[in-house]
């Protein structure tokens, strides 16, 4: 009975003016809650989830784009400036959305499982880290022995040029890796790309001799940022000062700028992905993914198209790498471990392989789980540890709990569970790609027909 009325409610929500009213209400309530209690996680999540409502309810396309852009470009920066922790989270989310969308092209469209995706991210990061820091002049010195007064090689504004260069260099790296290994079958390709990711990380770790290219495990710092455009700072202050209430620190403004840059990259990726999906290349990728032998028989140039997929996916990771290097002003090999690759993969798998909204949702969910839920648990546990609380029945004092037990460090557990559960119960993801939805529907139709 309640099921029926719930369905009717859902039905109503999708008719007439209701979608508009509900969406606006969700956004407004979220925004107001965040405004009045800027520290509340629930308010922040409510505001973030309003983007999901905006996507899910059937409203006019223009309404969706305008409201979505308003939330992403205006509301989020204000929220972020008022609480820097949230700015960090939305920046991380946008970075991982971009990475996941890039990996989605390789895995989702061309069906090539790339387990070393983070290597291309590292290539972009180290590219700007080398040219945007003093590293060029550090070359003859072993790590830790360089003089302190070295000049920078390039001005910070060269960053924008290097964003473009990162695309090219990462794409070339992708082609370089792809050329020898692309005729391998899927699972072998996966292991080889995994190896490649490790190779890049170890190179970053060890290329501090004979010439000090990467500064070894200590990493490169400081890396320059581009200068903030003064007119943008003035405009931002003039517009948002009344709402925010206090002058905004330069460091925060930088974070806003990098967030906006990441958004720009995401938009470019989404446009490229949509345009590619139904193009000749995209359809050829699908053909390769579904049946390689048949694709060859149909005259699809296999190696060239696989290389294209590798290069396109790699180039997006490269851009985000350069962006990350500038925003953090620091890179080190640690950030490019195999676990990062698997993290991005689990985002793609969770959301839905090949589905753009799915991948965005997956990236946002995993990042929030990682940054808010796991770290929130860590915080909670450390508070319990400091208190006198005792678990009643087994008489266990929280104080005795090992400090090694820090949920924030258990990302592998999270990624592992996501991968296993999704593969077994919902291999197409939370929001399956439309093509797969159609395929599944037709499969079911086949089943119903008598044999």
């Amino acid at each position: 009975m309640s099921q029926v009325s719930f369905n009717r409610l859902l039905e109503t929500a999708r008719q007439g003016r209701w979608p508009y009213i509900l969406t606006l209400a969700h956004v407004l309530i979220g925004a107001l809650l965040v405004y009045f209690s800027p520290r509340s996680n629930i308010a922040f999540l409510l505001l973030l989830s309003s983007l999901g409502t905006l996507y899910a309810l059937p409203t006019d396309r223009r309404f969706k784009v305008i409201l979505g852009a308003f939330i992403a470009l205006v509301v989020m920066p204000i929220v972020g400036v008022r609480n820097i922790f949230y700015l960090e989270i939305i920046f991380q989310i946008s970075v991982f959305v971009a990475l996941a969308l890039g990996l989605n092209i390789v895995v989702g469209f061309a069906g090539l499982l790339n387990l070393g995706y983070v290597a291309f991210y590292a290539v972009g990061a180290y590219l700007w880290a080398f040219f945007g820091s003093q590293q060029y002049y550090v070359l003859p010195f072993a790590p830790g022995t360089q003089p302190t007064d070295l000049p920078f090689l390039l001005p910070g504004d060269a960053f924008y040029l290097f964003l473009l260069l990162a695309i090219i260099v990462a794409a070339l790296t992708g082609i370089l890796l792809g050329l020898p290994v692309l005729r391998l079958r899927g699972d072998y390709l996966a292991i080889v790309t995994l190896g490649f990711g490790e190779v890049i990380r170890q190179l970053a770790n060890n290329l501090d001799k004979p010439l000090n290219f990467t500064n070894g495990p200590q990493g490169i710092t400081p890396i320059q940022r581009p200068t903030l455009p003064q007119f943008a700072v003035d405009a931002f202050n003039a517009l948002f000062q009344p709402i925010i209430g206090q002058p905004v620190a330069t460091a925060t403004l930088y974070n806003v700028m990098f967030y906006l840059l990441a958004l720009l990259v995401i938009i470019v990726i989404i446009i490229v992905t949509i345009r590619l999906e139904d193009s000749k290349i995209g359809r050829a990728w699908t053909a390769i993914r579904e049946d390689e032998t048949a694709a060859i028989a149909m005259g699809v140039p296999l190696v060239r198209l696989k290389l294209t997929a590798f290069a396109v996916g790699a180039s997006f990771a490269g851009v985000m790498g350069a962006l990350m290097a500038a925003s953090r002003t620091f890179v080190s090999p640690e950030s490019f471990s195999f676990m990062q690759s698997i993290g991005v993969l689990s985002m793609v798998i969770l959301g839905g392989v090949g589905s753009i909204p799915g991948v965005i949702l997956g990236a946002a969910t995993v990042t929030i789980l990682n940054l808010q839920v796991l770290q929130g648990l860590s915080l909670y546990l450390s508070q319990l540890r400091q208190s006198d609380a005792v678990i009643p029945i087994i008489n266990f004092a929280w104080r005795d709990l090992s400090t090694q037990l820090d949920p924030a460090k258990y990302q592998r557990l999270l990624f592992g569970i996501i991968l296993i559960v999704m593969m077994i119960f919902r291999p197409a993801g939370i929001i399956p790609a439309q093509r797969r939805q159609r395929e599944l529907a037709s499969e079911h139709a086949d089943e119903k027909q008598p044999a």
């Binding site: 499982l113 699972d187 996966a190 080889v192 490790e198 195999f338 592998r412 592992g416 077994i424």
Partner: protein
């Protein structure tokens, strides 16, 4: 098998000696002269026997892990990515058993040597038992529901299992012991070295634990070979590997045989884990990652699906890695040395897959789409 390891050992040695003669009169030779006071050729020759021994030991460790990969691949054509964690579980169980025994005073100190060996055997069996059970469980939960799905689906699930198990080991160890690094207790005479022979006044020796590793790996291979080729279960395994549908029509319980395969592979992996802990003393939950990848490389190198191939691949890889670790730094004058040994295997893997995807003695897997 013996002939092959001799041949590859000789080939590598000859290669290094030729290199030494070539570089004798260059800056490389001069730097060795300066550092060690001997000529490059002499230095190389003096080191060779020990390097061969160490390489062989490492090779047998890889071979023991590779057997598990190759067993599962032979039957399911599936890369069991979680095998490296089964290996780690074996290592942890073995070490925990030994730590508990040491705490009760049953090993180490005044206890007899015989008891040390017996308790080591007990730890080995415990590691094998738990690892084998875990492998069967993993198959039941994470792989069996996905049988028949596209090839990448179970692989992704296996990666998930691998990550899950790494942190699960860490969680259990952290909660129960407060740390996740474990060190095997010192007991018995496993660290002692047995002198083998003397070359130009240089004694070549082998640690007892290395000898144990080699002997155990050979026993494992011989036993496995017998099991697969001469028993009824082995016949069933081979039948399932060849054609699952037909095998089931012949009255073979395919699910049971696949479970059996995982049990055998997991048991061998667990034994390899305990041996690894014995040899390298320190373990952590991520200990399986690199040995696992290298063992996979070894399995591919030898021809995946082929048991003898796994052993050969392991030996070749172990020798190559040890040679590279020892001599690369000398011949490149310190520019690139042992720090690259972990990625050395990947270079080999890529080369093998490009030029001889069927491996040294396997069938052509690249064609089997």
């Amino acid at each position: 098998m013996l002939a092959f390891s001799l041949v590859s050992g000789f080939a590598l040695s000859a290669f290094v000696i030729v290199l030494a003669f070539l570089f004798q009169n260059t800056a490389v030779g001069a730097s060795v002269m300066q550092r060690f006071g001997v000529s490059l050729v002499n230095y190389t020759l003096l080191n060779l026997p020990q390097v061969l021994m160490d390489g062989l030991t490492l090779g047998f460790v890889y071979a023991a892990i590779a057997l598990g990969y190759t067993m599962v691949y032979g039957v399911l054509e599936f890369i069991n990515f979680a095998h490296s964690e089964i290996f780690a579980i074996g290592a942890f169980v073995g070490v925990e058993v030994l730590i508990a025994l040491a705490a009760y005073g049953l090993i180490g100190g005044q206890n007899s040597l015989l008891s040390a060996y017996l308790w080591l055997l007990v730890a080995l069996l415990a590691g094998m038992l738990v690892a084998g059970t875990m492998a069967v469980l993993v198959e039941r939960i994470a792989y069996r529901p996905l049988r028949g799905a596209p090839r990448l689906v179970p692989l992704i699930s296996a990666i998930g299992v691998s990550f899950f198990l790494q942190d699960a080991i860490r969680l259990i160890e952290s909660v129960t012991t407060g740390q996740f690094h474990r060190i095997i207790p010192a007991f018995g005479n496993f660290d002692n070295r047995i002198p083998l022979f003397t070359v130009a006044g240089n004694t070549v020796d082998i640690q007892i634990k290395s000898l144990i590793v080699i002997v155990a790996a050979i026993i494992m291979l011989v036993g496995l070979n017998y099991l697969v080729n001469a028993t009824k279960v082995g016949k069933a395994i081979r039948a399932v590997a060849q054609d699952r549908a037909t095998a089931s029509l012949m009255g073979i319980d395919v699910n049971r045989i696949i479970s059996m395969t995982f049990l055998i592979g997991g048991t061998l992996g667990g034994a390899a884990g305990v041996l690894y802990a014995l040899k390298f003393t320190r373990i952590d939950p991520f200990v399986g990652f690199f040995p696992g990848l290298k063992a996979f490389t070894a399995a591919v190198l030898g021809g995946i699906g082929n048991l003898t191939g796994a052993l050969l691949g392991g030996i070749v890889l172990g020798l190559l890695e040890t040679f590279a670790g020892t001599y690369m730094s000398i011949f490149t004058m310190g520019v690139a040395g042992a720090e690259y040994k972990d990625i050395f295997a990947f270079g080999i893997l890529i080369l093998v897959l490009i030029f001889r995807p069927q491996g040294l003695m396997g069938e052509n897997v690249a064609q089997k789409a």
